[in-house]
Amino acid sequence: MSVPEDLQYTKSHEWVRTEGDTATIGITDHAQDELGDVVFVELPGEGDTFDAGESFGTVESVKAVSDLYAPVGGEVVEVNSALEDAPEKINEDPYGEGWLVKLRTSDTADLLSPGEYEEVVAEES
């Protein structure tokens, strides 16, 4: 299981990369592995706004549907529209090409460090 050192995490298995006021969000390697082959992604539109903890979309694997929760509040400035035709990128490259949305955020949310996230995963298994 890969947990990059330069990202922050949530208990619901999203990751966040913060650059200035932009937060790029995806699901973790552990999450994609638990889900199995992702076959469908439902993402919000640009301009939609979400509070931290609010559901902003879903990912579906062959067998399971999983809600996506916003790790931080903000306005959607970009969605990864490539996932519509290639949702498998979430499995293949969860921290890269499998990113989900970018939010413009004013929040500073209570996120997990890589070490804390690894503990969350360890407790679940």
């Binding site: 199995g36 082959d37 469908f40 579906e60 694997s61 062959v62 549907v65």
Partner: protein, 361 residues
Amino acid sequence: MAKEGLRHTPLYEEHKDLGARLVDFAGYEMPVQYSGIQAEHRAVRNHAGLFDVSHMGEAIFRGPDAESAVQRLVTRDVGRLDVGQAGYSAVCYEAGGTVDDVIVYRREGDFLVVVNASNREKDLDHFRENTEDLDVEVADESDDWALLALQGPEAARLLQDLTGTDLSGLKPFRFAWGEIDGARSLISRTGYTGEDGFEIYLSGGDAPRVWRSLVEAGATPAGLGARDTLRLEAGMCLYGNELDAETTPLEAGISFAVHLDKDPHFIGQRALLLEDTGGLRKKLVGFEMEGRGIARHGHHVTSGAEIVGEVTSGTRSPTLERAIGLALVDPGVEDRFEIVIRDNPVPAKTVPLPFYKRDRE
């Protein structure tokens, strides 16, 4: 780590060694996937996949009245089966609802009825309660047998290398005793994937060795996840989804397994005859999503503001690369409707079943 209270098939250690993801299924810790559902699905469609389905139940009917007992319990006329022939059938309640869907094997001197793992105890009770007046023994041999399903266009070639039984002489729904890699096996040309293939009944002691031989010969281990997407593409029913106590086999579209003119009569025959002449209360349809989204079991089917049915199974079809599903709908429903996915009505249209049919040589 083994989960408490769950049962294991004789192939449990093989699954662990292969790194399978194990889930609770009908009280068994079973592999849902190894490498990934879609890769396993494609292996079965294009090459050969190997499933452990040892959790299935095996009931044997023995004694002078064995045939009368089976005839009373199942919707198919098993009097028309030859020795060495198997038939898909439903088991019904008096009111026509479905107890289970089963495969009946007419063997030399007895009948083997293979039942769904989740229904095993219920079925055995039903079988015994309804045949008390007959001279028949209904034995539960589920724990005595392992069951492998080898499925796919290369299944026959792979298996032929390991057995002296001439598989070209074994037509669909025929079975024979033989040896596979030295293990005495009942080899049946049946399956649940829409591909050519075999179901192999053998002792639990022999199963791991035969499993390993088949994997070494090139069969891809496949889990229950792929089994479900494969059967759904093939338009086959799953008990608990398309079939249940409230749904008759006619409604679920398996009338080919129901001989309404059967004599001797089966339990539920009167109710099914009445429904057949009076009209179905609901019917099973196949559909394809026209909008974005994947229908799932339990989603409502709507036509405008009206609820006209319920999705029984839905997935994204790995072969067709489209979202497909089965639904039980009002008989008069139009061929376009909506599936309500998380409060959002998404357009769908009916399509003929099965979704996928293999090319036959």
